[in-house]
């Protein structure tokens, strides 16, 4: 086994894992508080990449600006969506939220495909992050190292805010019992709106990170989101650290599968999902309710 291939796949696994982690984190937080399975998460990730593309094409704003602008723009669109549509569904079965967000994802992806085709638009990495390092045993492209480290930092910061701060204690408490938290004087409906905006913004941020790697493509989120849902099922809802560990871990497992048994690389996550569901239906880190 050439170590070159092994480390190459490890890196690809970490990159994929970074996207799994960031996206499943947002899905977990949204599901916890809103009770909505946000199937438009993949479309929102794609919109993040497109906002980065628009920033460059229309306003001349580069990658660093896009990292800030895309989450704000897509997060705001998410907030409007929550205020006008999602909030009507909270008292209904999960299925309604899933159907609405799935339908929205199809509409959004359809519009983008109509406007921009499905071949993908190029988006370059910023000058600062081009090139790479020769580590001796492998070549490490700077941009890919940046994606892994930056998304890890974003995930850990999110974990810190939710698990270790006052704001996070409101969020955790409202996930358990929103009625009581509101009766303590906290504006829970506003918190729900902002949480959705945050989760969606996180997806858009992942989209900007992905743009230089995968190009900007209207369907870039459609395939990814299916795997991300499997990651969420494996990790179990309700654990922030669980989402992060499972996301990166499964990315690496998938990468190594490409080295050792390439035929299974597209299915390994779903096989793991089936096994986890058999043994621990609530997921590896989930709390059985």
């Amino acid at each position: 086994m050439p170590t070159q291939a092994l480390f190459g796949q490890l890196l690809i696994g970490l990159i994929n894992g970074a996207f799994y982690a960031m996206l499943s984190l947002g899905l977990s937080v949204i599901f916890g508080l809103l009770n909505i399975i946000n199937f438009s998460h993949g479309a929102q990730y794609m919109m993040g990449a497109f906002v980065a593309y628009f920033c460059l094409q229309w306003a001349g704003l580069g990658y660093w600006w896009a990292l800030l602008v895309a989450p704000l723009v897509v997060g705001t669109i998410g907030i409007v969506l929550e205020r006008t549509m999602l909030k009507r569904l909270y008292h209904l079965d999960h299925l309604y939220g899933l159907l609405l967000t799935f339908g929205l994802a199809l509409v959004i992806q359809g519009i983008f495909r109509n406007e921009f085709g499905s071949s993908g638009l190029p988006y370059g990495a910023p000058a600062l992050l081009t090139g790479g390092y020769n580590l001796g045993f492998m070549f490490l492209p700077t941009y890919r190292a940046w994606v892994v480290l930056f998304s890890l930092a974003v995930c850990l910061a999110t974990w810190y805010v939710i698990e270790r701060t006052k704001l996070g204690s409101y969020l955790r408490a409202a996930t358990e019992n929103p009625t009581l938290v509101q009766a303590f004087g906290i504006n829970v409906p506003r918190m729900i709106t902002l949480t959705y905006g945050f989760g969606v913004g996180l997806a858009a941020l992942a989209g900007v990170l992905a743009a230089p790697i995968y190009q900007v493509n209207p369907l870039m989120g459609a395939d990814l989101i299916i795997v991300v849902f499997a990651v969420v099922v494996i990790g179990g809802l309700g654990s922030i650290m669980g989402s992060i560990v499972t996301g990166f871990g499964l990315g690496v497992v998938e990468g190594f599968t490409k080295v050792f048994y390439p035929e299974a690389s597209n299915t390994v996550i779903f096989v793991i999902m089936a096994l986890v569901l058999l043994v621990r239906p609530a997921g590896l880190f989930g709390r059985a309710s």
Partner: protein
Amino acid sequence: MPEPLLTVRGLNAWYGESHILHGVDFDVSPGEVVTLLGRNGAGKTTTLKAIMGIVRRRTGSVRFEAAELATLPSNAIARLGIAFCPEERGIFASLDVEENLLLPPVVKPGGLGVDAIFALFPNLRERRHSQGTKLSGGEQQMLAIGRILRTGARLLLLDEPTEGLAPVIVQQIGRTIERLKRDGFTILLVEQNFRFAATVADRHYIVEHGRVVDLIPNAALATSMDKLHEYLGV
């Protein structure tokens, strides 16, 4: 008789389609401890939840100081200085004891400090880093009462604080209520256990089929036993 702190008039409330309260009327004066007594399903808990705005579908009037509460959402009601301690205690499993204690925001000046709450319930200090729901039932009840004392609310709505607790804990909670009364808190207490209610309350309202049907001052409780037995079916 001073001006009432809380005035409830013609309060109706619904859970979905079921009409639970059919015109509840009563008053609570500042510094009083008042109980709502009645059988299971009479509407006592719903009355507290309707005052607090947790039951959203309600009509009639709930006045607290100068404010009309019947149209406000629960977070706005809490901000006026009313705090609710639910029957199921509502301790959060994903928060430790200290986080549970610090969760309700301070809405008015004059609430108890954390040290004063720990002095009232020393068990909580020892267990402040435990997961909230790992506490015993009695400790959870202390935590549920303790955390609303921090907020500066002057009107406390306590829903069956003694339910399912050992006699020694019930006594401790009784002493706490007496202490809070001395400190000037106003307390509206829902109870099944009228023997406990008799040790702490000034007046008792009897709730039946979603209405207040009688008022018994605590001093008259001994002479009203027959009536009470009939109301409560005990």
